[in-house]
Symmetry: D2
Subunit: 338 residues, 4 copies
């Protein structure tokens, strides 16, 4: 931690800053420059960070030296990548994994038919929502436990492990009975109670980046889960909110190489929500693979115009088949397989 | 709802769009222009909105005519303002209300002393967090129920009603025993399970705007609470996330007159989190009152450099006294009282 | 300047960093911590800043200690405020100044009538565009020199000094013949050729903040003008671009107290472009005055629905009269006059 | 154009709206719904757009049906792509083109050596700045005409055509003597005087997207150039400004497929400025090619730590060689060549 003092800071104020730091159990290294005095704090940045140094009179700025996360950092795993398994599917290894399925589970016929379609096309994991975080209270809120049962039946029919969203701490016990992986949605990325709860689950967790979450915020939210003991965490880039209105969100692919360098956790990209325009999802999926994503999540529906949610951005099964063929080529071009 | 078709849409596609809309129970009004066909959908926009019209082949764009919210809209209350009471303090009437207190409840001495200070200065409501949504799992997470008890004691000592944050649906029963108003924090603004839960509470709710929530998103989240039967909702502008890094957030005062025109619900402004720089909180409080805020929430601490959270942005009690005097003058200049 | 090295930086790399800094004429202060080595660079931050330190192998981050601007900083003027005169109107002193007029000069009748209306209402400076930066090449581009002549005639008729926009270095000589103050629009805030050119003008300059310019960027652009010798610069907050779509832009009033603390230059606020909604301009003008603005610029038109540009956000003359009365009260409440 | 009236709009107001539209030479189609009256305006959207319809009393909202651009639209070219030539290098055809070189031209040795390095590696166009738009007036501003001469010498030595930035309308004549392509930087994307000027040049123009420019804004700025007669325009995505601070900018690859679908103009991606982190430039280049970019611009320097600008984000020549090999594979995977 590096403290810069104000130009008008008095000698007494500077001494008081130093005293506080020593009182909190750290050492200091003071360098008096022409314009400002700089105080280096020696010790664990993450511990000192919890003290409101900026509130001490005379302090102009406080700059941390270390990142605030620890368990999720690549350094923590000796600069290697983690592989997380959903059912028997490994994510984060040489193979790129496709997760696919409808936005919402709507009926037995719908989810089973789509599961069979995507499996044939090459997907390895089935997605589908039973609890839906909708902006409007008047919109379809999901089938609840009935939806989970339908997902489990679709897994029985295809062998595909399933990932589904959890929205409330009280749902964990129920969802754990059916699902192979928990999803935390973008709007709950900083629902810290929920993060702690899934941190105590035996299931892996896919954590989606919030609409205005920095990469650092995303990593700190993942740190919550790991700090409770669950190290099976996937990070998912799914579009951030910017001023651009042509696209639904701005899929931030910059986050992919940055995350791969900062953390050992696997990185998933969701181009469906990311760009939100059906005709451009494949292009963004290719780009995601090219820059290092470990898995791609897309929405597929066999009758988008009758879907109960997000129909306008779902791919048709035959469009998904085409996407898989194109993704395979790019995967190979970057030394991965599908 | 107004549908514009693509230039290359065929007659069959256009007929199919019309058929779907009729099938869903609405009427259409078709206008064939030189470049595009425009289909007006006659009926309740909010009902038609749930169908994925944009997924129908041939559709270029879909533009709603009505806002997606209903119960929160000013039209719903015949263009009048609602007054919400916290304890016996009315918010949304002619008087501007000051809510104040520390970020976190830390000890009996701390919360009682601060409560007495702010009451003397003119605050009408005491704030203080017992459950703290912290970016880092290693940061102070609040005293929990013990904190709630200390808040209740501070209320006993001063008569100030208390507002405190709820983070988890499972906390409602406990918090209801102590608090006079529930606060939903910015990070939980779209925690829809929590919104529904507090919608069934007997307590009023202050809903803070999310960091990347549009004004419309904020109103839709409030609609969740009202739709469960709880009409005692306050909306709080507390800063959005932009590219600007000088300030902690960008307090969006534009939201104040817009909300006052769009909804009947009272509007609170939190300049502390909004700008995040202690020396400029008073300026933003004055501006908030000038443009129509009904209440101002600020953080006050009697020993900021020892605070367990947010010390760097807390006002000292004497700074708060000064702020109150300045706010009073501006309130009177715009025809309000304090 | 503070340099933090990478954890894997070798002793040779660290020595090479130190050597480079010494070679560039600065001194170093090295502090070897547990996790990172921190190198303080002693000397003028602004000079060292021009070297690409981050490009040297082994460097993890570089943090400046001083702000990159100098002439515009409040420190430079001994922590006092500058007063800039447009004609004989002083901006930055105790009186709040209203600048008003149409978006574009359209005709002699239009500009003279509006000038008389706003003068009667209390405005002190007349604005009007002769060269218009329009998003579309097919939109009205302004009357050019004819517009400038009409502005000069309106000044003759009312005595109000005039401010008008310059878009191109080649226009300076012509505009200097007519105007009392040059305006640089938001889209040209980083048109550095233009900044240098107006830096050599005898006229004062009002520099508008760019749509995605940080406060620091704005100050650096002002620094360009001052560094050429022209210290008569006004800074204008006029709305930044965020994700919010309800308002045209997001008027960032946080910038007002921040600028007043960082620079000696006067601060103008333009609520018309800032919020872009006619019915809410007055509210934002009041807020701007409450938080410390020195001047308010608003658009007024006597026939908005026939205006050649921005009609939808222009106030009618009688609405401006009302705004002035309200601004006066708030100005007095914060110890200013109008 | 579709006009929605306010719920409280009177019959007289609605008639007045219709009268104005007819007076301006358009026809109307009126549909009276339960809650709102909707007025369709029949005729050229781009012409009606110039009237301030939203300023007419009773109007709630105005929604255009057509895009505001025409010459740049893909429809204008019968849904085909344009190929733009820089010297004898075609951009927008099956081959992906690499443009490379230093940020600034610094000396004869520097520019010639780098030109030779990148040519050997596979680049087809040499970039280098002689006029530099720097945030700080104290930073290196470029060698001016001397820099242009050095660029021309490097072209003589290698045969690579050159692209260089123009910052001021007055520089056009001089730059045309040396350059093969003009570059308009992000900060000048809405310098409309400059756009018009280069619209009259015989040279092709690469237009970079502004930091807060929407895709539509970018296309409108290109429309300025085409409307003056110059159809040889390339569009360049180079990162937008968002809340994310880990990366220098947020390279918005979503813009690539969107632009390819909206316009016939070729699309260039600049990952160097886009992500701004040397170690991640190659990843973003691969992603750009995967999602459809026609050309990639990167900065290369043979001695980054001594560069006069942007050294921290320049690739070393051997890193560029590696990037080319990887780009080639991805290009082939998506059916392109290098």
């Amino acid at each position: 931690m590096i403290i810069v003092t104000k130009p008008e800071a008095t000698a007494d104020q500077i001494q008081h800053i130093i005293d506080r730091i020593v009182e909190w159990g750290f050492k200091t290294d003071v360098s008096r420059g022409e314009h400002r005095t700089v105080i280096g704090v020696i010790g664990d940045d993450r511990a000192i960070r919890e003290h409101p140094i900026a509130a001490i009179p005379g302090v102009e700025s406080v700059t941390p030296v270390l990142q605030p996360y620890k368990l999720v950092s690549r350094e923590f795993r000796g600069n290697t990548s983690s592989v997380v398994k959903i059912g028997n599917v490994a994510i984060g290894g040489p193979e790129i994994v496709l997760m696919s399925g409808p936005c919402s589970v709507e009926s037995k016929e719908q989810i089973t038919a789509i599961a069979q379609d995507i499996q044939k096309a090459g997907a390895k994991i089935l997605r589908g929502g039973a609890f839906k975080p909708r902006t409007s209270p008047y919109a379809f809120q999901g089938l609840g436990e009935d939806g989970l049962k339908l997902l489990a039946e679709a897994r029985d029919a295809t062998g595909l492990p399933i990932i589904t969203e959890i929205m409330d701490t009280r749902q964990l016990e129920m969802i754990e009975k059916y699902a192979d992986c928990l999803q935390i949605g973008a709007r709950n990325m900083q629902n810290f109670s929920l993060l702690k709860e899934v941190g105590r689950s035996r299931l892996p967790v896919m954590l989606k980046r919030g609409l205005s979450a920095t990469i650092k915020d995303l990593l700190m939210s993942a740190e919550y889960i790991l700090s409770e003991g669950n190290f099976n965490v996937l990070l998912c880039e799914r579009g951030i909110r910017t001023f651009e209105t042509y696209t639904r969100n701005t899929l931030d692919l910059n986050a992919v190489p940055v995350l791969k360098a900062e953390t050992h956790l696997p990185v998933v990209v969701d181009p469906t929500h990311g760009i939100g325009l059906r005709e451009h999802i494949a292009s963004m999926a290719l780009a995601a693979v090219a820059c290092g994503a470990d898995a791609i999540m897309t929405e597929v529906h066999n009758s988008p115009e009758l879907a109960k949610s997000d129909g306008e951005q779902a791919l048709l099964p035959h469009e998904f088949v085409d996407l898989v063929a194109r993704v395979r080529k790019v995967a190979e071009a970057v030394g991965r397989a599908l």
